[in-house]
Symmetry: C2
Subunit: 209 residues, 2 copies
């Protein structure tokens, strides 16, 4: 996965951040980072730690819309963060660097050597995010839980290049990702095992067909 500063030296990263008027903020755990945010359009790079973008229902239900880890980029242009139904909570101590969108094309930055790499990285990151969403949509549009599971396993198996691999997330998180009831998913996985389609040992899974 592309990082915003791929192929750019430490020294040039510092220079870029300076010219971009980047602003780095340290947060403790369980802080809503958007509650005091009055920036114009911006991108945010998660330097360390992690975040959850949460949708707060009118009934008080919480849905996790997205999770961001170290190296991820999010921003006002990408995520619908202007709604008051949405909070963005740090899951641990987290360090975030903010860059205002308009700075991305300021007079000085476009004359900087590493600017081209920076812009290419940014475009790649955004493209990867579209692709990641497309993958999830492909799974979510499957009609049955069985099809969702099998398609997910197929994609994961292709990614890992093997019919045996370890889930990168917990089954609970997978159920959320596929938007199915966790216990119903467990039941379906049991059927898949009984019918000889897959084998599991913990999160290690083998596709048998």
């Amino acid at each position: 996965m592309t990082n915003l500063f791929n192929n750019i030296s430490e020294k040039n990263i510092d220079k870029l951040l300076h010219i971009l008027k980047a602003n780095t903020i340290h947060y403790s755990k369980n802080v809503d980072i958007l509650s005091n945010n009055d920036m114009d359009d911006f991108f945010a790079i998660i330097e360390s730690g992690s975040l959850q973008l949460v949708y707060n229902d009118y009934e008080g239900n919480k849905t996790i819309l997205e999770e961001f880890q170290e190296g991820n980029v999010f921003g006002s242009l990408i995520s619908q963060i202007h709604s008051n139904e949405i909070t963005c909570i740090t899951k641990e101590k987290t360090k975030i660097t903010y860059i205002e969108f308009n700075q991305i094309t300021n007079n000085e930055i476009i004359r900087t050597d590493s600017y081209i790499l920076f812009i290419k990285n940014l475009i790649k990151i955004l493209s990867e995010q579209v692709t990641a969403k497309n993958n999830r949509i492909e799974l979510l549009t499957k009609k049955t839980t069985r099809d969702k599971i099998l398609e997910y396993l197929k994609l994961e198996s292709q990614k890992k290049g093997s019919k045996t691999f370890t889930l990168p997330i917990t089954f609970t998180e997978l159920a959320n990702y596929l938007s199915v009831d966790r216990s119903a998913m467990t039941r379906e996985i049991k059927y898949l095992k009984n019918e000889g389609f897959i084998e599991t040992h913990g999160r290690k899974i083998s596709i048998l067909y």
Copy 2:
């Protein structure tokens, strides 16, 4: 929605396209535009006409992954078009301009006046695509058909700024978008009408609560 050439004059658009070594191709109806595509990573702008990105199942089923209209941008970085299970078919006579990804930062282009606008537009377009995917994911993760419909109507009503508005797509297309059975969706809409939540006259819908 942002267009790749927003705020750029006709003259400067031509200049940009020239420096970007852009390549415009005219297609007739029902052509698979990817079958003879040997480009590196690229972006494609639909100048006129429309496209369907189709996933072809091993069983011969076809799923429409995405539809692109005039003004839309897609590309190898965004859509998983390298799979042989995927075709990209023109729905009518269609004119497409291709730009290779690496040209986006060629030596000449970054010294061009309108380059900054171009890059900003590209970043905005990609961001809008992420947002559009997020919106669809938000709908697809709802557990019931009723919740999907109500959430869709809420979003559409907000977008139009009124509790009465006209669906921008057919009910058949809506069922696909929400990934529910069309007849089951019609049934659920009937219930919503009977229970007094909404009123419909053709595709004109009023939210009554």
